[in-house]
Structures are given as C-alpha cells and as structure tokens.
C-alpha cells in the first residue's frame, strides 16, 4: 500500500467529476455544428437559444458514445435512462435549465485501474456517467459594464463522469484523470483537448484524521483544467483545509474556484446563492430505452483498450510495464509504435523501437507541440533509420543527428546519411590510420598510458572519434585502439 504524502495524521479524500465533450458533429439536442472557435453565436440555432416553442431531439451518436464509455469501464449500461431538467438562472444557460440526467443516468457503477508511483495498481470506482448539454460562454473583455454571451457551445453533448471518493491524494487524482483522458481518446468519443475545454474537471476534496469513519466536509473545486492544475489545486486545498481544521475551525461545504495565477482556491459565492435545482423529468423527452442489439452493436466497435494494449506490449514485445504504459497512453502513439516495429522486422526490434518512439520521437513531438498523425517522421521513416542502426551503417549517436535532420527536412534516413556523409567508417585501414595519427600527435599521453594511466583510454577514443568526424564504428575503434595502445 502506498502512503499518501500528506501531513501526518491526515487522510485526503478526493472524487472527480469529469466533463468530456462528446465528439459528435452536431449538438446533443439540435442540428447545430459543434466545431470549436466559430464566430460568436454562428452555431446557435433556435433550440440552442431556447427560443419559445422549440423542442429537443436526442442525437443517437451521443447515446452511442456514452454507451461505449460504459462498456469500456465495465459499467452497467442502463436499459432505461431519463433526462431531467436542472433549473437555475445564468446567462450562459439559455433555457434557465440544463437538460441532464439525474435519477436514472445512462451509465452506472464502473471502474478503472490506475498505476500508482510504487508500481501497484489501484481500482477507482466510477459512480455514474450521464449525458447532459454544455452551457455557453461569457466574455468580459472590452464590453465595459457588460458581459457578452456566446451560445455556440450551448448544447454540445457532455458526458459527466463521476468517480467514487476513492482517490487518496493529488497524484492519484492526476493518475485517474490521465487514465480517463487516455480512455476517452482511445474510444474516439472525446478529443481530450483541455485548452479548448473539451475535457474538464471539478474536484471534490475533503480531509479526515486517519482512522476516522466519516468523510470530512468537502469542497468542490472548479476550473481545474490541466493535469498540472489539478495537482496544484488539490494540494493547495488540502493544505488549506488542514490549516483550518488544525486551527480549530470547520470546513464549510462550498464551491471554490482555482486561480492558477495565484495558485490558490477561493470561495465562489455567486454559485452558492441558489442551489435548489428543482430537478424533475424533462417532459419534452421520453425515457431512453436501449435494447440488447443496440448495446451489442456498440460493443462490437470497442477498440483494444489501453490496459489490454499495455498487457500485450509486455507480453509480445518484452517491454517493461512502464514502457508499455507510456506507449499505450495514446492510441496514435501506440499505433505508430507498432507500425515502426512491424516495419523493422518485428519483435527483435521492439526494444530499440520503444526507446526511439519514447525518446527522440516523443521529444520532437513535445518540442514542436505536434501530433503523431502529422509528425515529420513517419513510422516507415523511423523504421528506415532503425535499419541503418541495426546494419551498422551509422552509430546510435549519429542516428540522433540523422533523426533531427529527417525531422527538419522531411527526408529519409538514407538520404540524410548520404547527403551529410555520415556513413559509419568500418574500414579497418582507415580507422587504423586515424589512430596512428592521434598516437603520433600525442606522445606524452601515449607514454603515460603505457606506464599505467589506464583512464587515458577515453582520451584516445575521443581524439580518434574526432579525427573520423564521429563516423568510426565505435566497437571497431575500441578494439583497434586497445590493440595499438598496448605497450
């Protein structure tokens, strides 16, 4: 069992509410587009605007995606679920109510495994996942005493995924959040874009003394929309709550907003004021009834899930658990990796391919903020590079230089090697000539080495490598040097 890294005597209890925008083309209850970044209110039709007289009609794809998530998390998919109205007034909520699910959600009681820092696996319960509509957005810049309302986002389908309060610290919360993030992208039900708000998170945080039976009073932290902020916001909130309790105070159940700039949470009184939501079944929508054939048709579309893929990577490719998890963390990356392996002759190249995909390739993606699908080096291209390492045309070190050139120029490994003359020198005569020149130029060092100063061997390797512009085959160079330097 891992010990949470919290002040002595306190246990942290966290549950997450994740809002994943479902990747449908049209909205959950209308035929408006859901594309991000359109001109204000250009994607808000009469239904999204809550015009008098208009009515919602449910998008099949949103239902299908929710079911897909349910099946992937071993949840119960409700054969009958009901939409309810959550009533409150806010400018980004045009109808004065949000269509959501309350008593009978479409997905209930699932679970997800997360990997803890100590390598152990922990199962996190999923209480429920329900369908609902997103709200619009308010902007405040340049409008003086007004706020401007853009309802393009209103009516975008959301899957709200509610966890059990099973998470025992910020790191676990992040691990779980990342796991859900990976899963929804695997399932192709959400693009996972946190900057654009496609994947958002609220955290319910409380603390209690170790051994206490009852949960402490919780606070809901809103607006924690990056993995880093989730961790920081929770850590801040935990420290705050412990401070309050140790100072003899009590925690007030409330909604708090995380301010990333100040790295603190603060009370959102505006949200507290009237939280009597008066839920009741939406009379404009009938119960959603799903039969076995619908559910089985969705099941047939399930891809290999992240955990299944990681297991297979360990088994088929002999990868470490860690490498397997990293490579399976995104479906694109995993597919890329497998393509590289396949083009490199299969399992024997698996470890080399793993090192390159996780190393230089992922590094370049991160540096350029690029996607696997649009990477400058294709899986065939990387396989081409690995082939030249495997056949000793270039060394691993030179390969890094070749890779950078491939990335920059979009060229093949062979073309780069040819153009830059990076082909490894394997001609014994040429290497010996370089060694001879180095020995002749450094008589003092040669004498010291021969009189027992072994560590100067590295000096000669460096000099000889330099003399061949790094192109000498390192193994050969080593062997020849040892032989020639010997007294």
């Amino acid at each position: 069992m891992s010990q949470p890294s919290t002040p002595a005597g306190w246990e942290v209890v966290i549950g997450l509410e994740i809002h994943a925008q479902l990747a449908t083309r049209s909205k959950i209850f209308s035929g408006s587009a859901t594309a991000y970044g359109a001109a204000p209110n250009s994607q808000a039709n009469l239904v999204d605007l809550g015009y008098p007289g208009v009515l919602p009609v449910l998008n099949r794809e949103a239902v299908r995606m929710a079911v897909k998530f349910g099946l992937a998390t071993g949840s119960t998919v409700a054969r009958r679920s009901v939409f309810a109205r959550k009533n409150y007034f806010y400018p980004d909520l045009p109808k004065g109510y949000q269509i959501s699910q309350y008593e009978l959600p479409i997905v209930a009681t699932g679970k997800l495994d997360i990997l803890l820092d100590d390598g152990s696996i922990k199962t996190i319960g999923i209480t429920r996942a329900h369908l609902e509509e997103d709200a619009g957005k308010s902007t405040h810049e340049g409008l003086g005493a007004s706020s401007g309302i853009d309802l393009n986002r209103a009516g975008t389908p959301l899957l709200e995924i509610v966890s059990e309060p099973d998470l025992r610290g910020a790191k676990e919360a992040v691990a779980y959040l990342k796991k859900v993030h990976t899963l929804v992208r695997y399932l192709e039900i959400c693009d996972g874009n946190m900057q654009e708000g496609s994947f958002r998170c609220d955290a319910n945080v409380s603390v209690r003394r170790f051994g206490a039976e009852k949960y402490g009073t919780r606070c809901e932290i809103k607006n924690v929309n990056s993995f880093r902020y989730v961790e920081k916001a929770i850590n801040y909130e935990v420290a705050r709550q412990i401070d309050v309790l140790e100072g003899g105070g009590t925690i007030v159940q409330e909604t708090r907003l995380y301010d990333a700039a100040k790295d603190e949470t603060r009370s959102m009184r505006s949200k507290e004021e009237a939280n009597d939501y008066r839920y009741f079944p939406d009379p404009d929508l009938l119960p959603v009834e799903l039969d076995e054939s619908f559910i089985e048709a969705v099941r047939a579309t399930l891809p290999e899930l992240p955990d299944e893929k990681a297991d297979r990577f360990c088994e088929a490719y002999g990868l470490s658990r860690y490498d397997a998890l990293v490579l399976s963390s995104s479906r694109d990356l995993a597919d890329y990796y497998e393509a590289v392996v396949a083009a490199s002759g299969g399992a024997p190249a698996a470890k080399l391919a793993a090192n390159w995909v996780m190393g230089d390739f992922s590094g370049a993606l991160n540096r350029d903020n690029a996607e696997v699908s649009t990477a400058r080096v294709s899986s065939d291209g990387l396989a081409g590079l690995l082939a030249r390492i495997q056949d000793d045309t270039i060394s691993g070190k030179i390969a890094k230089e070749v890779f950078e050139a491939m990335w920059a120029e979009g060229a093949t490994a062979d073309a780069v090697i040819e153009a830059k003359g990076l082909k490894q020198i394997t001609d014994t005569g040429a290497i010996e000539a370089a060694i001879d020149a180095v020995m002749a130029a450094n008589p003092k060092q040669l004498e010291e080495y021969r009189s027992g100063k072994d560590r100067l061997f590295g000096f000669f390797v460096g000099q000889a490598m330099k003399a061949t512009q790094g192109k000498a085959n390192p193994g050969q160079l080593n062997d020849l040097l040892k032989r020639k330097l010997a007294p």
Binding site: A39, L143, G148
Partner: protein, 96 residues
C-alpha cells in the same frame, strides 16, 4: 398550509420575479390557498404506484442521426434581442 411572507419572498427570488409589497400579500394568501387545496392529494393511496411523467406510457425516446442541419442565422435570431454587440448577447457584467 400557510406560507409566510419570507417563504413567498424566497420562492419569488428562486423564480427571479420582482414582487411588490402589495403583490406579496396577495401571493401569500393565494399560494397558501392553492397549497391547501392541492393537499387533498395526500389522502390518495399511492403505495406502489409509479409516478407518471408522461401521458403515453410505453413510448420511448427517438434518436436522430448525428447530422449538422443548421446554418448561421444569428442576425435573424438576434433581431428579437434588446442588447447585442458584435453578435454577442449583452447582460450586466457577470461576476464569478
């Protein structure tokens, strides 16, 4: 069932209705009467009866195809709005 003035005020607030003092007295009286009237429901034996949210039992929700059928008509739709700027609906500044 008799409602107090503060209760009626809190309902009016929940429903975002500005109510004058004079109206308030009328509503305290009429809402109390209405609630007393509907309380006769409590006499009904509804032990195992399911609540009925919808008059057509047995019908279920139809699902529509995921197709974009709408075009940008914000100018037409915003003709009914009193305060619009650069295609945004305006409200007094929202404080979070």
């Amino acid at each position: 069932m008799s409602l107090t003035r503060p209760k009626v005020e809190s309902i009016a607030h929940l429903a975002r209705l500005d109510i004058t003092e004079a109206e308030l007295s009328v509503y305290v009286d009429s809402l109390s009467k209405i609630l007393s009237f509907v309380e006769q429901l409590s006499a009904a034996d509804t032990g195992v009866v399911e609540p009925m949210a919808h008059p057509l039992a047995g019908e279920s929700q139809r699902l529509r195809a995921d197709e974009v059928s709408e075009t940008d008509q914000h100018e037409k739709y915003q003709a009914n709005a009193s305060a619009v700027s650069d295609a945004l609906y305006l409200v007094p500044r929202v404080i979070e």
